[in-house]
Symmetry: C2
Subunit: 138 residues, 2 copies
DNA sequence: TAGTAGATTGATAATGATTATCATTATTAG
DNA sequence: CTAATAATGATAATCATTATCAATCTACTA
């Protein structure tokens, strides 16, 4: 894999770290261009994925593909597989206090309408798949 | 607006409600085609948005546009404006018990790596904007 | 130092999801 | 029945992202 960061990757990391909103890949591209004018979009995407994989930055939104629809409108929570992107309903509620929600919403300045807990991890299928791959190359 | 559901909308709603995974718009389209063969993609998208707006179904993922990146990798939570799609860091942690997380992850069958609380509502700007629009149309 | 295998890069084309356009069809009012 | 209006669907356009591939940059060797 890629262990050391070259100048392009450093610049991308710097941009993402120093921006206090959550920039899109294209926004990162525009910002990085100012300091590394020859970089291309493809490289920015490659580097962003690489940095996310190394845990140096985090990807938000886009659970990997298209928008998904849910027929169950009662509030409920989700589990998301970080490997295959599977989106599962949680059969149980992760309970959290009204008070904590209220104060968090106030701190962020939003009028709270609903909330959702997301659990990230590996689904059963991916866990097995990855374990096998690991032992095969190990 | 659209208060009553016509045959197409009924069919779309039925498909979304009866599917226990979380179908994408295209998957809904394919399923609806079987019962309403003349429907087009554009209508499916229109109907899905309309149903979501009426609160009959729910949209997941895709907070409206491109994937966003976050330079802060410490676990933290987010507030999302349902009107403009703004994605804000919560400055405070919404605390929830290890035990609740663990049992929820187990119930869903995933190996838990991380989690996130998402608060949905209106940001300050949109709150004001919508209030003004409301009072204007009376 | 020149030569070369292999990796990295970036320009560009391709893809996939979603949205806009617009002529056609259905619906309603008169 | 006819005109006005709204809804529909085929298709083109758009936007984010990914694949392709030739050009460039590294090591490393002779």
């Amino acid at each position: 894999m890629k262990e050391t960061l070259n100048a392009n990757a450093q610049a991308v990391l710097e941009v993402v770290r120093s921006s206090h909103n959550h920039p899109t890949a294209l926004e990162v591209y525009e910002a990085v261009r100012k300091v590394r004018p020859r970089i291309g979009v493809a490289s920015v995407y490659r580097i962003l994925h690489s940095l996310a994989q190394q845990g140096l930055i985090r990807e938000l939104g886009r659970s990997d593909e298209a928008c998904r629809y849910d027929g169950h409108i009662e509030r409920h929570d989700h589990a998301i597989c970080t490997a295959c992107g599977a989106l599962l309903d949680l059969p149980v509620e992760v309970r959290l206090s009204e008070e904590a929600l209220r104060s968090a919403a106030q701190a962020a300045g939003i009028e709270l309408h609903s909330h959702e807990v997301r659990l990230y991890g590996l689904c059963t299928a991916c866990r097995q798949r990855l374990q096998q791959a690991e032992s095969a190359e190990g």
